[in-house]
Amino acid sequence: MKFVNWKLTEDKPPIPLAKTKGLPPMRPATHGLQGLSDETLLSRAAEGDTDALSLIFDRYQQPLYRFLRRQTTDAALAEDLVQDTFLRLLEAPKKRTVRHAKAYVYRIALHLAYDVSRRRRLETRHRESLVEPENTKEAAFITLVEERDLLDTAMALLSEKLRTAIALHYFADLSITEIAKTLKIPQGTVKSRLGRGYRQLAELLEGGRP
């Protein structure tokens, strides 16, 4: 039988023994796993080790959210995709050996984000086919600027490839080598995308200033 000792909040430490009158809190035994690599934790999590899963969640939830937040430019969608990413990790084949955990996790997240983006594009095309094209474009642009902050608007205007490179580099804090592994492209291509992306972003942000 599996004992689920789930760490329920990341920031709050376990309740001290004195407060619980001698009863130690039902906290996870993740401290024994702290020294393990992400790769080991991932394979354990896939085999049903909830402590390992909890620790992986602790390590990745914030950078993954920041990455998806900027990749999708939608906070609510990013939250959903963080959840979907971890659920996918659970569904992964049990015996699969992950060589680069970070690249693996972000690749899953990226594919999920691409799927959503593709669906949205199809929906937009469908809507556009139902109404006057000129009005739609104008309305979409106004909505984009009104509803999102400046950075979201600028990120949304970048091409998907450039946006992904910047989101992985800046918000997920991946190195150029790690981005190359995640996207399965040469490091030179990553550098080129980042260079172009950052320059375009700077121009867009400058243009959007009041």
Partner: protein
């Protein structure tokens, strides 16, 4: 911005002005965090995705115990015991299917050993020396407790709990908190067993059951207060409370079946 990213931006050919402008905006955006509420929601969802391990096997375990109990008490009621065990397993599968959870993961060591241990415990009273020990215990017990079925229930519940705690200790996962999570359901099961025994005449058994159930509820509240999860999640996420609930239902059904002389398996 950390040094690596700063160096990267320099190496990527951005001029100082572009860098400064980007840094001020991107740094502000990169402090954004996944809201605490969302983080907790996702954790809960992930926790739910690990349920199958915790639901199916304990239910099978309960079923196995019930089957053994039926064999010992009433040879004709094997079918009823097995049927109730099957019911417990199907119930678990329905819960899992209803919640769109993933299929069960391979059994781990605990999952493998627990049913075997439970079966051994259940089979023990059928051996000659087991019968003899049981009779000795019954004879030495107070008159009000001297029923084989009650002794069996007490022994099975107690030995199950002790056995699990022994395994926990053996594998270095013993803690007072975990011991309590097994102790209270044990008391809960025992309370239900006593209640079944006392359904006809023994008021003390019903009172004891009320006390044990109340103690169990207090434990749940303590766990809820300390772990900040909803009662429902706590109730459903682990075998600690689900097993006694399923087990109690099955035991009640079994007790009812045994006491019905007009049913095919009831010849009491």
């Amino acid at each position: 911005m950390n040094l690596r990213k700063r160096n990267d931006l320099t190496n990527l050919g951005l001029n100082p002005e572009e860098k400064r402008r980007l840094e001020s905006i991107l740094d502000a955006a990169s402090t954004e965090r996944l809201p605490e509420e969302s983080s907790r929601r996702i954790r809960t969802r992930l926790m739910m995705a690990t349920w199958p391990d915790d639901i199916i096997l304990p239910s099978l375990w309960t079923g196995l115990r019930l089957a053994g109990l039926a064999i010992r008490i009433q040879p004709a009621s094997v079918l009823a015991g097995s049927g109730l065990g099957l019911f417990a397993s199907v119930l678990s599968l329905i819960i899992i299917a209803a919640l769109h959870l993933r299929p069960p993961a391979p059994v781990d060591l605990f999952s493998l050993l627990s049913p075997l241990m439970a079966y051994a415990i259940t089979a023990w009273p059928t051996s000659n020396w087991g019968k003899s020990a049981l009779n000795t215990m019954i004879r030495s017990a107070p008159v009000s407790l001297a029923t084989p079925r009650l002794w069996l229930m007490v022994m099975m519940s107690g030995l199950d709990a002790l056995g699990v705690l022994a395994f926990l200790a053996l594998f270095g996962r013993f803690s007072t908190g975990l011991a309590l999570t097994w102790l209270f359901p044990f008391l809960f099961s025992l309370g239900i067993a006593l209640a079944i025994e006392g359904l006809t005449s023994k008021r003390w058994a019903q009172s004891l059951m009320a006390v044990l159930v109340a103690t169990n509820a207090a434990w749940s509240l303590w766990a809820w207060a300390n772990h900040r999860v909803t009662g429902l999640i706590l109730l459903m996420h682990s075998p600690h409370l689900l097993v006694p609930a399923t087990g109690a239902l099955c035991l009640f059904g079994l007790g009812w079946a045994i006491r019905r002389p007009n049913l095919p398996w009831g010849s009491r």
